[in-house]
Amino acid sequence: MTRDQVLDLYFMDARCKLIELAAFLDRVDRSEGEADFRLAAIRKALPLLSSAHAERAKSVLMALSDPTVVPISAATGKGACGAWPGATP
């Protein structure tokens, strides 16, 4: 596909998601209390969108991933939350 064709197919969808992300950050700002590591993880990933690197999706996924290599001793729960708690102090 040409770049124009990609924009024709996906621009409105990307625009929608960009505004949703902006509105989410505004909503967090308006709310009270301390944010946990998830907000910091998103803020850490945001600059990756404007990088010249061609693998932005992969980079964002890596920014949200557990980078360690050693199995943990036991599970404290079953679920995943989408960001690695150890990513930020």
Partner: protein, 267 residues
């Protein structure tokens, strides 16, 4: 359009889903064993579940003209309890004799624990001893990258395992290359939020090539969409991919992998 749904948890879905999938061109459904959303309290719960997968669910699917196949295991979410896991591993061989069982799956890791790895190794040993295909679940979200690396290490450590007979599912942009480069098949799961969207799935296919890749909806009791595969096939068409290329991805590839088990026959 024709397609094979190689990963769907139909025990969690309503009959309208079967009908919709059939109408969209589905010609076969494969159902791996998974977590019920709660921990089963004994091996008896798994015995009943395996009966459901190998006896009742194929009859329900047949009402809609759909062949139904299954994979058996204890899901990694329940393998932290190694005693229960080993009890379940002990009853799997008798079910492997049933005509719609394709292999061992979906095994793998959830939180990347030592116990999960031990039970993964025992599942792989079971598959090797019974010459079974393997379907691997990779962990969710932040645990996926680490877990996929650990799973690859475990699989590569067992010299009996032929990577061409193993599919590693739920790959995303940060894991697809490591799976394919190691010679394994890779599955892309289409979820509204927590895995790949149709657009991202096609991006991965365009970048990695469609050899040894399949798409699946993995529909279950959570947010998921039974028609995600045909929806992605339509998206491929919108991008200008040929009908032949779409058919190769959503029908030809799962057919090629699954036919390694002679039980996978579509009339």
């Amino acid at each position: 359009m024709r397609y094979i749904e190689p990963h769907a948890h139909m025990v969690s879905r309503i009959t309208d889903d079967y009908e919709a999938m059939r109408m969209a061109g589905c010609v076969a459904i494969c159902e791996p064993a998974f977590w019920a959303g709660f921990d089963r309290s004994s091996v008896d719960g798994f015995y009943d579940y395996f009966c459901q997968l190998t006896d009742y669910e194929p009859k329900r699917a047949a009402k809609f003209g759909l062949p139904h196949f299954s994979w058996l295991c204890i899901n990694p979410k329940e393998s932290e309890d190694m005693g229960l896991a080993r009890d379940v591993l002990g009853i799997i061989p008798e079910f492997l004799k049933r005509g719609n069982v394709l292999g061992i799956g979906e095994i793998g890791l959830n939180k990347n624990t030592r116990n999960e790895i031990a039970i993964l190794e025992e599942h792989i040993d079971l598959a090797a001893r019974h010459d079974q295909l393997i379907l691997v679940h990779t962990p969710h979200l932040e645990d996926k990258f680490k877990g996929t690396n650990l799973i690859l290490d475990v699989l590569r450590a067992d010299s009996r395992i032929n990577p061409g007979r193993v599919i590693i599912d739920h790959v995303e942009e940060h894991t697809v290359d490591m799976v394919l480069d190691a010679g394994f098949w890779a599955g892309i799961t289409l979820y509204p939020e927590s895995k790949a969207t149709p657009a991202r799935a096609i991006d991965m296919v365009e970048r990695a090539g469609m050899k040894n890749l399949w798409l699946n909806c993995a529909c279950d009791w959570g947010r998921s969409e039974p028609l995600a595969v045909p929806r992605t096939a339509i998206e491929m068409g919108r991008r200008g991919h040929s009908k032949e290329a779409v058919d190769a991805l959503v029908y030809g590839n799962p057919m090629r992998f699954l036919s390694q088990n002679p039980r996978f026959q579509l009339s």
